[in-house]
Amino acid sequence: MSTLEATGWTSPSPRWAGAARVAALIQVNFGLITREPGAVISRLVQPIVLITLMRPLYVAALAKDGAQAGTSQVVTGMLVMFSLLALSLSAGAILLERILRTWDRLRATPARPIEMLIGKAVPAFALLALQQAVVIGFGVVAFGLHVANLGLLALAITCWALTLMGIGAALGACLRSFSELNAAYDVGGLLLSALGGALVPLAQLPRWAQAIAPASPGYWAMSALRSALLGHPEGTLRAVGVLLAIAAATAALAAWRIGRGWPRSRLM
């Protein structure tokens, strides 16, 4: 008889305990977002306002490229810029857990690290996908944005949301404070979206900026979204492949950083 059997203790963990743990973590994390929705609403409303106000400018500037060019540029550009700024939500969710010390509290339970990450990732993914779907939907309904292939567009949105989650997780795991995070997403988000051609079409950027543009995830997001809107599978798949590689690399960095732990647990 083992030491534990001698005490009469039996494990309450059934086979589906892992799924129940993930569901509980997702529920709590959805609650954390929905109980303080200000930042989410802001990231949904801002692109819609800017698209509405700036579309005439883009349409006039890109008139020689066709009737859809200006609308497509302003919708995809604002989508990429504000989804990069929405990194504050996914990265902030992980950073907040560290600051509240709840992350180590969760680590001291039977929950696996992957279950904790899924619990964080699902609400963040839903939020990012919702943001993109709302912005594209607004472009279609309000300004007649043409979507040539809905399946390709869904693929592009999904992969861009995964990339943003990976980058967000890496930022949340590596940065030490909200001050650092604010600087990272304000400066980084603006820089990466501008370099990716989200504010000014790539062809109008200075030569040096065009040369380094592919280093920005925003470049590949713009490429995937534009190709999907035009119904070009080849261009979409190529860009989506790069986005998934970035997502995998940043997620691996986040997992490594979280697995390694911080200099000392802040639990006690």
Partner: protein, 238 residues
């Protein structure tokens, strides 16, 4: 109660930079026993609990919980223990019931068993009236009770309670000590770190005195002399 230890830690070593937090730290706790782990700040009490909980890896030594090697298989060990951290770690916007359900589910409880466990621990910790309140709106004493309740919601063979009554009001302290005593009577092994010796007397706990990263004295309060309990002041163990 059984004589085989539920928790067995042997010659644990852990360093942070140049500081050796644990230096051949050895401690056993059997079923039904409450061990009061006392010692000055920096004596290694919290590091020891972090290692048992699998949050920190020791450089040397061995820890078993039940028959599970907690260093090689920390997740399996965590299924056997409940941890109450010293510092409050709650989500301000999540309700008390939400916290208890979350930690109960993470511990493997579900449906009827979970509901019953949440109701029971809420009653024992005098939290029933505030179950629907977000943690951010609670008083300091209530937050302390929620923190302890999350560790106690599922019955576990081993409980690690790290200074659970620091800054707590008398109501919180009384509720917690009652639950701890009841869990020990039901067979749980308990490590209880504190600076308040009267609490250990009230719990009928044995005392393990930690100093400079290892346990220098172990026994009942009556058995241990002042020299053993306070070796630095008495010019004893260095």
């Amino acid at each position: 109660m059984g004589s085989e230890p539920i928790l067995a830690a042997e010659k644990l070593v852990k360093t942070y930079g140049r500081k050796r937090a644990l230096n051949d730290f050895t401690l056993d706790v059997v079923a039904g026993e409450i061990v009061g782990l006392v010692g000055a700040n920096g004596a290694g009490k919290t590091t020891f609990i972090e290692i048992v909980a699998g949050l920190v890896r020791p450089e040397a030594g061995r820890v078993t919980v039940g028959n599970v090697d907690a260093v090689k298989n920390p997740r399996a060990a965590r299924k056997l223990l409940g941890v109450c951290p010293q510092e409050t770690a709650l989500y301000p916007s999540v309700t008390v019931a939400g916290h208890l359900r979350l930690f109960g589910t993470l511990a493997g409880l579900h449906r009827t068993a979970l509901r019953r466990a949440v109701d029971d621990i809420a009653q024992l910790m005098q939290l029933t009236e505030v179950l629907a309140k977000p943690a951010g709106l609670l008083s300091g004493g209530q937050r302390k009770r929620v923190q302890a309740a999350t560790a106690l919601v599922a019955e576990r063979p081993l409980l690690l309670l790290d200074e659970p009554t620091v800054g707590a009001d008398p109501q919180t302290r009384s509720a917690l000590l009652d639950v701890v005593a009841a869990r020990a009577a039901a067979g749980a092994a308990i490590v209880y770190t504190t600076h308040y010796m009267p609490e250990l007397a009230e719990l009928g706990a044995t005392v393990a005195f930690a100093h400079a990263g290892h346990v220098t004295a172990r026994g009942s309060q009556a058995e241990l002399s002042l020299d053993e309990l306070f070796p630095v002041a008495a010019g004893g163990v260095s």
